[in-house]
């Protein structure tokens, strides 16, 4: 019994593509909270709603087909139901495909949890000629059934009413799923032993359920049972069943569940029309075609990137001017010449650092709007199918293609986009190599260096070469990672192609805003901290005033930077970076480049006492002349190579930390890439110098 005014905990379960998230959004509106389940990177979305004197707390479980110990998502969903004991579990089903979607429901029935079935998309089911005898189906399944069309907001009140009723009334009689005499007999034996041994899991989760899982060979439940007697009985039962029924118990049990569903459907569902899937099939004929499909995919991706980086430019410009204005405003209102260090910390450290992060927000929002649209329509699964043939050859899953492509724009949204990969090892490997896809912030570096060192007809090919080197390095690294630290059996590939669907605006907006907010919140805090650290490195120790006054204004900047920790580190690094053909000036600029790649250009112009107006074409021309005087084309190429391969910017480090869940991976990415860049650049410079010497 739930007393009045008490909070009701409701878990939302359902297959992927059942419209579960739409139901969740409908129930909770925009008032929801995104977190993580403890210890894993599975997202946990929660929301609250008041209904008739009750507060209902909804938890959106990960979408799963089943509740075995097969994947982290399934384990997380199962544990939430078993351990948090929600008052009601709502299983969201696609009513147009009950036979498939009821499979999860049978497993929820096995867990004896109070259950409500939301028959979502009942309009589609009706259109396909499905007629439900709801009353009979409710009796057969032992749960309230609520027909819904969540995308149109229909059926919500009925669902809330059913939830309340189920939570308040005493535990209903949930029918047992009959597994047949042979299996029941073995289940009985195991159950008896569990009860006799006062087994802790059996007391908590019910002896029948534990016995069932043991018989299925569920790795997680088996590991909880220590009694050798029980394990011996499980073994014997498994062997016995295999012998008399010809298959392993897990498959036999699954078969019985389908049998139960198919029996229930035959009794309570009538098909009045036979044709179905016509339009979806025709679309798929084109979209999954090995040639047309690829073309359409290319065009759609181009459109998404075009919108992201072209439309995003306008608000990006506004944000940039806003932060510039803010910095200038602080300088303008600063009272006199006091505390100038604080002014610099605020303007050059905090405002510039945070501004540098926030300016990417429009890009992130637009990109995730595009991705949400492709996912919600069901297209993303087709894209993965088409790309898989190509990506398979380089040891990756079809879906990895999308984050890697985004990486050409910016690593940060790319790393966030790795969420579309289900396999954690694949996801980590992709995440770690994404900085190798040459991002937009590196373009200013190439734009400075390529014209400085290469004649006009070589510029295109050099630029192309840099990009290709990045791609090749990414492929090599991914293969190395998958063969070493991220080794793991490549799971044979199985995925559902969801039916095509029109996404809802609300769903798209919520998806987009969640990503944007997460980016601002998490990356913002870490980046703010690191920006301040970098500011200190580049400002302190400060040059004494008596030496500063002797210099011209441009020289002041250069001298201060040389005197600062960054400048000193740059100088101290010189012996280390010399094998790559770099001197302290490049070293100092590289330290600045960890803030954001394009800062490299600004830093170099400061080192050369040209002021920090990197936008100025005249300054750039002058800088190129200086560079040409100091370095050879080979050195110029090596600088680009190092910038391409080495340390990602701090925003990337922060987002890798956030998305992988561990500092370990962020640091591994940071140092791993830098070490590789060092090795490769040194090799190129040394071999290049040798060849030059011979010529």
């Amino acid at each position: 019994m739930i007393p009045q005014h008490n909070e009701i905990l409701v878990a939302l379960a359902g297959n992927p593509n059942s419209g579960k998230t739409t139901v969740f959004n409908l129930l909770t509106g925009a008032r929801h909270h995104v977190g993580n389940y403890p210890g894993v990177t599975v997202e946990k979305v929660e929301g609250k709603r008041n209904y008739k004197d009750h507060t209902i707390r909804f938890v959106d479980l990960p979408g799963t087909y089943s509740l075995t110990a097969y994947s982290t998502e399934e384990l997380v969903a199962r544990h939430f139901i078993l351990d948090e004991k929600p008052d009601v579990v709502v299983d969201v089903l696609d009513a147009s495909n009950p036979e498939r979607h009821l499979y999860l429901a049978t497993q929820l029935m096995e867990m004896r949890t109070p259950l409500v079935l939301a028959f979502n998309m009942s309009d589609v089911a009706k259109g396909q000629g499905l007629e439900f005898d709801l009353q009979q189906l409710e009796t057969l399944l032992g749960a309230r059934i609520v027909p819904m069309v969540a995308s149109k907001g229909q059926g919500m009140n009925d669902l809330l009413e059913a939830i309340l009723e189920t939570a308040v009334k005493q535990a209903a009689v949930v029918p047992m799923i009959p597994y047949g005499q042979d299996i029941e007999q073995e289940l009985g034996k195991i159950e008896r032993l569990l009860v006799e041994a006062h087994s802790e899991p059996a007391a908590r989760y019910g002896s029948r359920w534990v016995a069932l899982k043991l018989l299925e060979g569920d790795a997680h439940v088996c590991s909880k049972i220590t009694s050798p007697d029980i394990l011996q009985q499980v073994d014997a039962s498994q062997v016995h069943l295999k012998k008399i029924l010809g298959d392993t118990p897990d498959v036999l049990i699954a078969d019985r569940r389908y049998g139960f569903i198919s029996g229930a459907c035959q009794e309570a569902i009538r098909h009045t029309v036979a044709t179905r899937h016509d339009i979806s099939d025709k679309i798929d004929l084109v979209l999954t075609h090995s040639k047309f499909g690829l073309l359409i995919f290319g065009a759609l991706m181009y459109l998404v990137f075009y919108l992201t980086f072209t439309l995003g430019e306008y608000p990006m410009g506004w944000l940039e001017s806003f932060f510039d204005g803010l910095g200038n405003a602080v300088i303008a209102v600063w009272p006199g010449e006091h505390l100038l260090w604080l002014q610099s910390l605020l303007v050059d450290g905090v405002i510039a650092g945070v501004g540098g992060v926030v300016v990417f927000l429009p890009n992130i929002l637009l990109l995730f709007l595009g991705i949400a649209f492709l996912e919600d329509t069901g297209y993303m699964a087709r894209a993965a199918f088409i790309m898989d043939r190509i990506m398979h050859r380089i040891g990756l899953h079809g879906k990895s293609f999308i984050p890697m492509l985004i990486g050409f724009g910016c690593s940060i949204p790319a790393i966030m986009a790795t969420r579309i990969l289900e396999n954690r090892r694949n996801r980590l490997a992709t995440m770690l190599v994404i900085p190798l896809m040459s991002c937009g912030a590196r373009i200013p570096i190439y734009a400075l260096l390529i014209p400085a060192f290469f004649p006009a007809h070589w510029r295109g090919p050099v630029m192309w070469l840099i990009y290709v080197i990045g791609i090749v390095a990414a492929i090599v690294c991914i293969n190395l990672l998958r063969k070493t630290i991220l080794k793991g059996e490549s799971v044979p590939f199985v995925m559902e192609l969801p039916p095509y669907r029109m996404p809802t605006w609300k769903g798209l907006m919520i998806h987009m805003w969640d990503r944007g907010w997460m980016y601002l919140k998490k990356a913002g805090t870490i980046i703010l901290g690191l920006s301040i650290v970098l500011w200190f490195l580049m400002s302190y120790p400060a040059l004494p005033d008596d030496r500063l006054v002797l210099l011209a204004e441009e020289e002041q900047h250069a001298a201060s930077l040389q005197h600062s920790a960054a400048g000193r580190i740059g100088k101290a690094m010189e012996p280390v970076i010399r094998p790559m053909g770099f001197d302290w000036k490049i070293g100092t600029a590289l330290i600045g480049a960890t803030m954001a790649k394009e800062v490299f250009v600004t830093q170099l112009s400061i080192v050369y006492s040209l002021g920090d107006e990197d936008e100025d074409e005249e300054t750039l021309t002058l800088l190129r002349e200086h560079l040409r005087a100091d370095y050879s084309p080979l050195q110029g190429f090596c600088i680009m190579l190092f910038c391409l391969l080495s340390t990602p910017c701090i925003a990337t480090v922060a987002i890798t930390r956030k998305e992988s869940g561990k500092w370990k991976w962020a640091l591994f990415q940071f140092f791993g890439l830098t070490a590789m860049a060092y090795l490769v650049t040194t090799l190129v410079f040394q071999i290049g110098s040798l060849i030059q010497g011979l010529m």
Binding site: R100, D250, T288
Partner: protein
């Protein structure tokens, strides 16, 4: 039925598009079997091959929805054409 008339099961991989087949056995480990059965692919179920182009994954229709199967998984599912 005599021995000669009995159709030998073949891997799903060898089925051409447009064909319908019945699953006879799945020669795979615990995890893959589990995953497949949660999607409705288990001995006794009928599936319809939509795409199989000699390279890349297969698309099959099973229990009213389309499922993509890798070539590895498809080589472990044995079927008889119906």
């Amino acid at each position: 039925m005599s021995e000669e008339n009995k159709i030998q099961p073949v891997p799903l991989l060898e089925m051409s598009p447009g064909k319908t087949a019945r699953v006879v056995s799945i020669d795979a480990g615990h995890d893959l079997k589990n995953r497949l059965s949660s999607l409705g692919v288990l001995a006794g179920s009928t599936l319809h091959v939509i795409r199989n182009e000699g390279a890349g994954q297969l698309i099959v229709m099973i229990k009213n929805s389309k499922v993509v199967l890798g070539r590895g998984a498809s080589s472990k599912i044995f079927v008889t054409p119906t």
